[in-house]
Symmetry: C2
Subunit: 195 residues, 2 copies
DNA sequence: CGTCCGCTTGACTCAGATCAAACTTGGTGG
DNA sequence: CCACCAAGTTTGATCTGAGTCAAGCGGACG
């Protein structure tokens, strides 16, 4: 899991702070890009209008992550952002940020590193989604996301994890239970420990 | 589809040129990262060793694309690269590239833009893979990847496209045929045109 | 106290994976 | 020029496992 160190990079930059209640909107698809956001706490659901007129979750930005990275270089947001729980957001003006990068290449380099990690991470999830067996898919995800102690701290609901790896949440619960019964892992609180 | 403009960014930088025959290896998972690669022609298959000891395709880098972006900031390659057809590769020393970025922030900014686009693209594919219906998944992919004329130029085999969107190639062929018979699209040569 | 939502389990169904086989196509080499 | 091979494409038949619907539980929160 790639975690942002953005706050370090941009600590002395002028910023705004927003506190959102669940359901509050941050921006809408098609809006002019003015700000770049960093999630301090809570979670922000990014959705996109689908062809059929529905809404599809494209990403769940958790505490410590940034969102709409690509928007920095585009004029309009290509997705909408809504708080999925009470959230605290730090926002930087897009123009301020780009100007800062002009003058501080080191900050830009950190940003580049951050994005590179994102690319790596997304490709891994993409690969995982090609595993058809639910059990193997779950194991692959845990291997991918766990820390060096073979532990996975779940900073989101199991339902969201299920979505993240492309499984129906019922299937996810079931397979997780089976894996636990087969002594492949232990679950407690917000942790999963691989055996 | 995000296409690289890397050659423009790095045109005057010292580089090496490799010509690979199909099957030739560029680097292996675990190798020390020395160079950063840009595909001029052909295609490079990126694979990763799976837990079970197999090989999983994680990305097919086509002409104009870069590969192993994340490796710029890591010591080892996290995947292996093998030419999937006769390919021409331009390589830059990692150290040269990073030094160039130090002195030319504009180049780094272009790179940042490139990565940001990649992130956007990968999230889109991720979203597409969550669509369960094969037919809808295929349509969503075409919508995503087509140009302004509702045409999609396939620079890879249908089999690879099937893999890219996470379908068994048989299913992909079948649904494509159905869509063609239902006059939703036209297929000819390496093109798909939406109606 | 009621509502919401994540979690859990059961039963059923079917769409897509899988196995199998044939046919194109392109390239290689004798 | 043809024989041959490899790989992509196509179609058929079968089957299974994951999606879906449904229903109940429990904790958080106002």
């Amino acid at each position: 899991m790639i975690r942002s160190h953005l706050s370090k990079i941009l600590s002395h930059l002028k910023s705004e702070r927003f506190c959102l209640a669940k359901g509050d909107s941050l921006f809408h698809q098609g809006d002019q890009v003015v700000r770049f956001y960093h999630v301090r706490s809570g979670k922000i659901k990014l959705t996109r209008n689908t062809i059929e007129g529905g809404q599809a979750l494209i990403y769940m930005a958790l505490a410590g992550e940034t969102l709409a990275e690509a928007s920095l270089f585009f004029d309009q947001y290509h997705c909408s952002a809504v708080a999925d729980s009470e959230s605290e957001i730090v926002a930087y003006k897009k123009s301020t940020l780009l100007a800062h990068f002009e003058q501080h290449p080191a900050a830009m380099k950190e940003m580049l590193k951050l994005f590179a990690g994102q690319v790596r991470d997304l490709r891994a999830i993409n690969e995982i989604k090609n595993i058809h067996s639910a059990k193997e898919r779950i194991l692959a995800f845990i291997y991918h996301a766990m820390n060096e102690h073979k532990e996975l701290h779940l900073d989101m609901s199991l339902k969201d994890v299920a979505y993240k790896i492309g499984l129906a949440h019922e299937t996810f619960y079931r397979e997780l239970k089976k894996l636990e019964q087969a002594r492949r892992l232990i679950r407690k609180d917000g942790y999963i420990k691989l055996l």
